[in-house]
Symmetry: C2
Subunit: 224 residues, 2 copies
């Protein structure tokens, strides 16, 4: 029997490729968190589309909810009063789309679930260098969090935190996804819309550049 | 102007005394998480009662919700199919009331809020030696988590994780609460009921023993 891996699957490119990596050695348990973000319904659809694609049964899908991050505020992704800027127009070192310490919340839930169902690892699709510059997407943070997991869970649990794409450039992630036959056509990256991707926000620009650099056409449709 | 401190306030004895410590040097921002646990409504009442007592305005109270921990399962506190045992009858090293990695989730939310509102610290009422033996209540875990906070938040945030009662015995926590004039009569500890405390679950027994050892009568009413 294969090991079980919890994968934090937002429905975006990075987490989809991360799931494709995880399933080479493990059965998948897929976790999505609806935190009241703008494109939450569209991302949840992508989550279930990818889960369907991989034949993951309902018992190994967890689409949970919290109002906490929205109420905490402080990000354009959750606060309707803060507009999502077009790429390049955000002058902050850490962009306004940064949801404070979001990956810690996701990882905490992933570890809770992993410990409850006996999974041996939690996969996170964080990307460090070639990304939006969020502090909770760094190797240093993930290593520190992994140490917190070692100290804060049952001694016999031994759950690993794995971030297989963290040091890849975005175009390498696209190529790895194609190599692993990941369903990139089912992913969703746009911060703004939920019908067609806007093609202008930071996340769309990162994605478009990645596909361009990889020489592979992006299968997702954009506003013209 | 005083610094702002986020306090994770469950409404129990330890977190109430922790709030009393925090307010000596800081203005309070109080965070409660309704995670679908058995005594959630009663604990939320205690949260608001304590917040009222300290005159904390609505803008600095956050009672958030998530269904994630309940759906993750694995604990008698959130799973209605797992009964809460009477004290001493639980033969596991880590009790069945353990909610996997719960404090990591609480701390993550606390840090998110602290970073969003510019608070300089997050207080957690974890108790290590004289407690139920949950792995996420240890100094080792809190230290490791604090390091994850340093690496995973904005460099200028510098949010400290503070656990002022972690090495106290329970009766010392009671005495400290009385010293600081903490509203212990407003706290709630019972795992089972929400009207009168059962007096038999692990949490009630710990509390009753603590008051007994401190020589101070417990102001909360118990089932006879």
């Amino acid at each position: 029997m294969k090991q079980l891996a919890v994968v934090l699957l937002s429905g975006g490119l990075d987490s989809c490729v991360t799931a494709a990596v995880a399933r080479r050695n493990s059965d998948l348990a897929l976790l999505f968190l609806d935190y009241g973000h703008r494109t939450n319904a569209r991302e949840r659809k992508a989550f279930h589309d990818i889960a369907d694609h991989y034949g993951v049964p309902a018992t190994r899908r967890l689409a949970a909810k919290t109002d906490a991050l929205r109420r905490v505020g402080g990000s354009a992704l959750t606060d309707r009063n803060v507009p999502v800027p077009d790429a390049g127009s955000d002058r902050n070192d850490v962009p306004v789309t940064y949801v404070p310490f979001r990956n810690a919340l996701f990882l905490s839930l992933g570890i809770s679930w992993a410990e409850s169902v006996g999974a041996s690892s939690v996969y996170l699709g964080a990307v460090e260098e070639d990304s939006s510059g969020y502090p909770d997407c760094t190797q240093a943070f993930c290593d520190a969090f992994a140490h917190a997991v070692d100290t804060g869970t049952r001694p016999e649990s031994r759950i690993r935190v794995l971030t297989p794409v963290i040091h890849l450039r975005k175009h390498q992630i696209v190529r790895l996804g194609v190599e692993l036959d990941a369903p990139l056509h089912l992913t969703w990256s746009c911060y703004k819309n939920s019908d067609r991707a806007c093609g202008r926000c930071d996340s769309c620009i990162l994605r478009l550049n990645a596909f361009k650099a990889s020489g592979i056409p992006d299968p997702v449709q954009y506003e013209s």
